[in-house]
Every structure is written in C-alpha cells, then in structure tokens.
C-alpha cells in the first residue's frame, strides 16, 4: 500500500520535472487516504446500483432467451439480428433520429436569437432571461406537456384562433403526430441550446467586431463572418445536447405522439413494461445508446474537419 502510493506519487511528479521548491510542497501534501474513505460510500453505492445494472443489461442483451433462470439460455447475437433485420425497428430508429434532428433544428432557430440578445444585454437583463428560460427545466415535463395539450388539441387555443381568423376551416392534427413530438421536444430542451450558445458567445473577443465595423463591414457581414462562425462550438454542443436528450426522451413522445409516433423509447418501454421482453429490450436500449453516440460522433467530427476547424480548439 505504502509502496504503491510512493510509486503513484513519483509517477505524478516525475514527468513534469518540477523545480525542487514545488517538489517539497508536493511532499507536504496531505495524505489522501482519508479522502478515499469519504468517497467509499458514494463509490460503492454508484458501483452497486448504477455500474452493475448497466453492465447486467448489456450482458442480457446477448442472451437469446427470456428464461433468465439460466435453463436454455445461450449466448447469441439473435436480439441484435432481429432488431437490424426487422423493418419495424429500423423504421422506429429512423423516425427517432429524424425527430431528434428536427427538434435540434427548431431549438437552434428559436434559441440563437435569445442567446445573441443575452450576450449583448446588460448583466441584469441577462440574469432575468437566464432565470426565465432555465426555470421551466425545474417543472415536471408532464406539466409542460399538459400546457401543450391546452394549446394544440383540436379544440385548443391554436386551432380555435386559426379558425376564428378564417385561416383554416377544420382543426389541424397538431397533437398525436410527429409535429406534436417535435414541438414538445424542442420546447423542453430549448433552454439547454440557449445556455450552450451563450457560453461560446461570451468567449468572443468584442474587439474583433469593433475592428471589422471600423473597417466598414455591415452589421450583417459582421454577424456572418465573425459572430456566427465563432459561436459554432456552442451551436454544435447545443445541437448535440438537444439531439441526445431527444433520442432517449420517453414521456414527451408518449404524450404528444402516442401510438402514431413509435419512436425507439416508446418501443423499448413497450417491450420491457408490457411485453416483458427483457433481453430484447436490453438490446434495444443499447442500440439506442449506440445510435445516439455514433450520430453525435459523426456530427461533431464533421464540424471539426470542416473549414471551421480552427474555432473548435
């Protein structure tokens, strides 16, 4: 134990070639054993109830039968093969990706002006906007979805208004459709988009815009050549966040889309809770996770290899 610690200590100090004075201070550092003791409870808790369950369903996804007692259970890829050869699941995966992409796009279009306004506003206004957009995140998603029911049902606010204005003759199906799910998801995760973009807008050196304005660039040119490209990292991380949250959202698609929009989370829930197909449901869960990670990787990679790669440093 003591030897291991000494070795560890050396490993940490050696490559940096610290000056003697700092080394002396490093030696005087507190022992970290009490810290490890404090960490024990939380590490054990998360290991037992988070890591092990996650690994357990990964293991189950490779078992070909639902007989969990072990009899007749055998390792195979059959769950994954079924999933990738059945057009129902492939279509569900495609619908999920499509809806998540469109939700990110809506959140980006609606969120960018908010972020831009926050970046230009006084500290007081900025704090107020932050409070207004972040607070809904602390209200249960079912309540926000119920608000959309009031607004979007056939006899809801939006349809009534449009019919009174004579713009439509019969109510539109806004709820229980892909449009409804996209509205619900973009609404739920828009605050994350704004906060991500605002962070990258703060990092832009204001003298850049001043300089280009002095050199005669119009405000529009200024925005397109300076602000927008330099805020790309925020846009990318905002889109990644909204996309991944949308990919695995269950409540909003279940309430705003229902049976008409069979996204993966709704399909997975059905397999686990109604059909009790645990091994297949586990495989679906990991395919959902894998698809999300792969999409995010490709998307981020695409931007980092583009002509804007410098801004991602």
């Amino acid at each position: 134990m003591e030897a291991a610690r000494a070795q560890n200590h050396q490993k940490r100090v050696a490559p940096k070639e610290q000056p003697p004075q700092q080394e002396k201070r490093a030696k005087k550092r507190k022992p970290w054993a009490p810290g490890l003791l404090l960490l024990t409870s939380i590490l054990l808790f998360l290991f037992g109830f988070f890591v092990v369950p996650m690994l357990y369903i990964l293991y189950l996804s490779f078992i070909s039968t639902d007989n969990l007692s072990g009899e007749g259970a055998s390792y195979s890829l059959s769950n994954y093969i079924t999933l990738f050869t059945d057009s129902y699941y492939l279509n569900s995966l495609w619908v999920t990706v499509k809806i998540s992409l469109l939700s990110s796009l809506v959140a980006l279009v609606l969120g960018y002006p908010i972020a831009l306004t926050m970046a230009k506003a006084s500290a007081k206004i900025r704090a107020l906007i932050t409070l207004l957009i972040a607070s809904p995140l602390l209200v249960s998603i079912v309540v926000r979805n119920f608000g959309w029911y009031l607004l979007l049902l056939p006899n809801g606010t939006v349809n009534t208004l449009l019919m009174d204005l004579g713009l439509i003759s019969k109510p539109m199906n806004l709820l229980f459709s892909e449009v409804g799910v996209i509205i619900g998801l973009s609404n739920a995760y828009l605050p994350f988009m704004v906060l991500a973009i605002v962070t990258s807008l703060y990092n832009i050196d204001p003298s850049l815009e001043k300089a280009s304005a002095i050199l005669g660039a119009s405000p529009l040119r200024n925005f397109l050549s300076i602000t927008l490209p330099l805020s790309l990292p925020g846009i990318v991380s905002g889109c990644v966040l909204v996309f991944s949250l949308s990919m695995s959202a269950y409540v909003t698609p279940a309430l705003m889309g229902g049976a008409n929009v069979p996204v993966m989370p709704v399909v997975v829930y059905d397999q686990i809770n109604n059909l009790l197909q645990w091994t297949f449901g586990s495989a679906l869960s990991y395919v959902l996770l894998g698809t999300t990670l792969l999409s995010v990787f490709l998307f981020t990679r695409g931007f980092e290899k583009s002509k804007f790669k410098e801004v991602f440093r």
């Binding site: 988070f50 357990y56 002006p113 831009l116 306004t117 230009k120 972040a134 606010t157």
Partner: protein, 265 residues
Amino acid sequence: MNAIGKLRGALAVIGIIYILIPLIAVIPASFTKASYPSFPPEGFSFQWYTKILERPEFIDAFMNSLQFAVLAALFAVIFGTLGALAIAKYDIPGKSAITSFLTAPLSVPQLVLGIALLIYFTPLMLAGTSIGFLISHIIICIPYVIRLVLTGLSGFDYNLEKAGAILGANPWTVFWKITLPLIRPAIISGGLFAFLTSFDNVTVSLFMISPETRTLPIEIFSTMQDAYNPIVASVSSVVIFISVILIVILEKIHGVGKVFGGGHH
C-alpha cells in the same frame, strides 16, 4: 444597426414565449368555470381545486412524491457532500476521472437507467418497493449535489480549517463549526435541486412504481394518457406553485441558470 437590434430582440421574445407558453397556459386554465379546461379560460372558479380533494389517488400520490423527494434529497446530499469534500480537499489520484464517474448518471438516458434498475432489482426483490424507488431517485440526484457542492468548495479557504485546528479544535469541531457553515449555501441548493429532480421525475419512476409507490407526476402522466381530464390543470398548477417557490429560493442562493449552464458535458 438599431433595426437589427430590434429584430434580434423581437425574435428573442418569441423564443422566450415559446419556452414559457405551455406553463403560462396551465394556470389560468385551472380556474375555468367550464367542465372543460381551455386557455384562455371561461369564467372563474375554484371548482377544479376542490375536486382534487375528492380524488384520494392524487392526495396519496402527492404525499408519496413529497416523502420520496425529501428522502432522496437527504441521501443524495449526504453521499454527494462527502464525495465532493473528498474530491476538493484531498489529492486523490484520478480525481477528474472520479468526478466524471460521480456525475455519470446524468449522461445515461433515464429511460435506460430505469430499465437497467428494474431488471436488476427484480431478482433482488427490490422492484416495486419503496427502497428500490428511493435508490433510483438517489442515483439521479447525486450528480447535481456533487456539481453544486464542488462549485461551493472551489472558493473555499482551507486556512480557516487550519486556523481552527491550530487553536485546538478537534477535526469534528472544525467540520461542524467551520467547514459546514461555509459550504451550507451550496449544500442547501444541492438539496433543493435534488428535491425538485426527484419530485418532477417521470421516466425512472415509471419503472419503479407499484400501486403503493405512485407519485404525482406519474398520476398526471397516466391520467393524461387515459383521457383529457380537466383536473390535470389544477393538479399541474399546484406542481408549478411548489416549483416556483423552490426556484425563487434557489435563485436567491445560487442562480438557477448556473446549475444547467455549468457544463452539461
């Protein structure tokens, strides 16, 4: 320039209204006189609030939600504060990896976490029990406590602890009289955040419930799936009311935006 500024402001207002409109619609709708909720409401009455009292399932669910949220927040605060203290105070090898691990439950979709816990709990006889429910909620609350207490400890002056020790206080006294009071605001905001996270949760809860452990969001969720019941408007308004009170307190202590903006990665 001014025209562009106005356009930007107008678009921002539209975006903010889009974020807030579903919540804005719920409260007036709950006071409707009609048998059918609508926004804007028809007339004014408290009938949908008094009707909550005739529905024991909502009252029971509300009490369950409160109890689970208080307990989940309490355990998350204990685990999280100990963890954050250890990370901030001691030079533990692999510190950043440990921090990422402790906040990892935030990066795993709640749907997948719920499934994993249901399947894991079943042979352990924990599925559908209060203990299982509580464990699942503690897991989703821990990352917020860790994050908030770590932020609270980042400006902590350890010389104060040293001074206390030099003046003869034992480690226990130093903790109670110096460390704890100084990080109390961070612990309180962590606890409030954990409370709301648990109180609002639907996705993980869906896999943990039993007839005895139904919570308020679950009750709202299943009522909405069955029929368009006007009582949901008044129950939802109660949820909004509770959330607003806690948000005001949180904003005073910590700033609501910081928790979500402080690196969701």
